[in-house]
């Protein structure tokens, strides 16, 4: 297990390297002078300051050295300054991570609460009306764009019924009740699509599991059907389900860029979106880097967790 973990962490290095190279090249590929892109043209107007800044970022040196300097700074947490707010980017992004995690965790939790029962009932009652209904709903669920679903929810619950706020954010530490009220619609939008995926997954891994021999053995020993299904089959079926929903996190985080924007949710997705709109290049660069690292590291953790839960999986 330890060797596997070390191997997996080593495998992560090339991925992170690709990520940093892509993010670094982004600034180089933008139109205009790199120095204007990085510090804004007002600050770089004075030729003396400009020359000093050029030296600091290594712009008088070959590209690979510039990359080295940038990477070194990034590793120390220095991601530059926002062109708009003039604050250090690491601070800006750090403040936005909790909101994204809050939304993501509640959204995934909600999806599991909906999807696991629905998927397992569909599998147990295979080819029944319940099964077909669950299948159709989940197929429609993965076909609906989440931003449209979000808008329709706002239309219904905020504009029409007026029971939930249409956008905004309150920290759960300030006022939990209000916070949950503001969380409901965004979490529903995140959870809905995820629930559709997870239902399909639960159903197919339940079916895989129910075809295995231990199920027959358990039945022949006289265990009740509900005990066989809920105590043994479901538990085993949950392992791949939860793993794959963890790996879906990349999709989910991508979706948060759209959903956070719709609901004015002050997370990292909205920060990236606003940076793109404001042409705040260093913030775009850093935001994508941080989001990318979060995705890669989470994938690693989920993968390792999977091996812990299911030691039978070959360690190669």
């Amino acid at each position: 297990m330890l060797i596997y973990a070390i191997n997996r962490i080593l495998q992560m290095i090339p991925v992170l390297l690709v990520l940093t190279v892509v993010v670094f090249s982004f600034i180089q590929l933008l139109p205009g002078d790199v120095i204007d892109t990085l510090v804004g043209d007002e600050e770089a107007e004075d030729p003396v300051i400009r020359a000093a800044l050029m030296k600091e970022y290594g712009l008088d040196q070959p590209v690979y050295i510039q990359y080295g300097i940038w990477l070194g700074k990034a590793l120390q947490g220095d991601l530059g300054k926002s062109l708009i707010t003039r604050r250090p980017i690491s601070v800006e992004l750090f403040e936005s991570i909790p909101a994204t995690v809050y939304l993501g965790v509640v959204g995934i939790g909600l999806s599991i609460i909906i999807a696991v029962p629905l998927g397992s009932i569909a599998a147990v009652k295979r080819n029944s009306a319940t099964d077909y209904t669950a299948q159709v709903i989940s197929l429609i669920g993965i076909s609906i764009p989440e931003f449209w679903f979000a808008i329709m929810c706002v239309l219904l619950f905020s504009l029409h019924l007026g029971i939930l706020p249409s956008s905004g954010y309150v920290s759960p530490f300030e006022d939990l009740g209000q916070s949950l009220l503001y969380l409901t619609l965004p979490a529903l939008a995140v959870g809905f699509r995820q629930a559709a995926y997870t239902t399909r997954l639960t159903r197919s891994s339940m079916l895989d599991e129910m075809n295995k021999e231990y199920v027959d053995t358990a039945r022949s020993l006289g265990f009740s059907e509900s005990k066989v299904i809920y105590k043994y089959t479901l538990r085993n079926a949950l392992i791949p389900t939860i793993t794959i929903s963890g790996l879906q996190l990349a999709n989910l985080l991508g979706g948060t860029v759209v959903l956070e924007t719709i609901f004015s949710w002050p997370g990292i997705g909205q920060a990236i979106y606003l940076a793109i709109i404001d042409h705040d290049y260093p913030l775009i660069q850093a935001g994508i880097l941080v989001l990318g690292i979060i995705v890669v590291v989470t994938n690693l953790l989920v993968d390792l967790l999977y091996r812990v839960l299911n030691p039978r999986v070959a360690l190669n």
Partner: protein, 316 residues
């Protein structure tokens, strides 16, 4: 044996190796089509998806005929009109016919999505086939690169590329080509890995050995003999991918990062409709429904094809 019989026999051998005439070829295609339709009838899902796709494609092909109004021309004498015989879906805030905009937007979206998936396949197929066919260290290196790319969150790549296109003020066809490139490039690792796994199984078979014995060129065996037998899972994957690509394009346009106005675009039109949601909610409904319908059609068809190709799934 009389000489006429011998002659007859000889003639039929000659006939057998003669290239088929146009009529024979047509007959053969007809049998293939009948087979395909027969298979389609076996899966209700595939049939429903095929019918939905067929009607979608027909409508999009006929758009210049059935959409009477110019999707871009503004008409201030009929702003935000409700549905009527003249404007089936009503008009938007610039007096443009929503029905025409939905159809023209769909034409563009589906063409971009198909081009993107074809581009991904065009890189992924040769990459995967050659990697799997030659094996050895070439294969190892090629697949490590694919692993790295698969771990890279696609949505972040699209955001970076679309931002670059925006900063360089790319417009019209160039903007569309950038989308095709970004979405296609993100698909190629998946296609490559999928086709490689089929090639690994297929290259063990006897006909491949026979071809080697005859002395066929490696490239010919790989691309003309093995590849056609590996296409089925790829077709399923590409179909489902089309739906996903359409969702991504719509999401990017929704954020205002895809197509600049006034080009008709489902995502961008939805986003514009949000401002008038209280007074005129229906303009937010039509483009959304169009996206749902299209993505659902591709997902249904893909799911059904999977059932047909992998009969193990149907029994479930």
């Amino acid at each position: 044996m009389t000489s006429t019989e011998l002659q007859h026999g000889r003639r039929s051998i000659e006939e057998a190796i003669k290239p088929p005439t146009a009529a024979e070829r047509l007959a053969r295609y007809r049998i293939m089509l009948q087979d395909a339709l027969g298979e389609l009838y076996k899966s209700k899902t595939a049939l429903a998806g095929a019918l939905m796709l067929l009607s979608l494609l027909t409508v999009l092909l006929l758009t210049p005929v059935i959409a009477k109004h110019d999707p871009v021309k503004q008409n201030y004498s009929s702003i935000r009109k409700d549905a009527s015989a003249e404007h089936i879906f009503g008009t938007d805030r610039y007096g443009r016919d929503i029905y025409s905009r939905v159809l023209w937007g769909g034409r563009r979206l589906v063409v971009i999505a198909i081009l993107a998936v074809v581009f991904g396949l065009a890189i992924g197929i040769p990459y995967g086939v050659l990697s799997g066919y030659y094996g050895g260290w070439t294969d190892s290196i090629a697949m490590r690169a694919v692993d790295g790319l698969l771990a890279f969150p696609g949505i972040l790549l699209y955001l970076l590329i679309v931002t670059l296109a925006r900063e360089w003020h790319l417009e019209g066809v160039w903007n569309d080509l950038i989308l095709v490139f970004a979405l296609g490039f993100a698909f190629f690792p998946e296609a490559a890995r999928l086709v490689r796994s089929s090639v690994l199984i297929e290259k063990q078979k006897e006909y491949v050995e026979a071809s080697h014995t005859i002395g066929e060129a490696n490239l010919y065996i790989a691309m003309r003999q093995i590849l056609p037998n590996c296409l089925s899972p790829l077709i399923v994957n590409a179909t489902v991918r089309l739906g996903y690509v359409i969702l991504i394009i719509a999401a990017l346009s929704f954020l205002g990062l895809g197509t600049p106005p006034p080009t008709p675009d489902w995502g961008a039109d939805l986003s514009a409709a949000r401002e008038h949601m209280e007074s005129n909610p229906m303009i937010a409904v039509y483009p959304g429904l169009a996206i749902c319908y299209t993505v659902l059609a591709f997902n249904l068809f893909g799911d059904g094809l999977r059932d047909i190709i992998d009969p193990r799934m149907v029994e479930r």
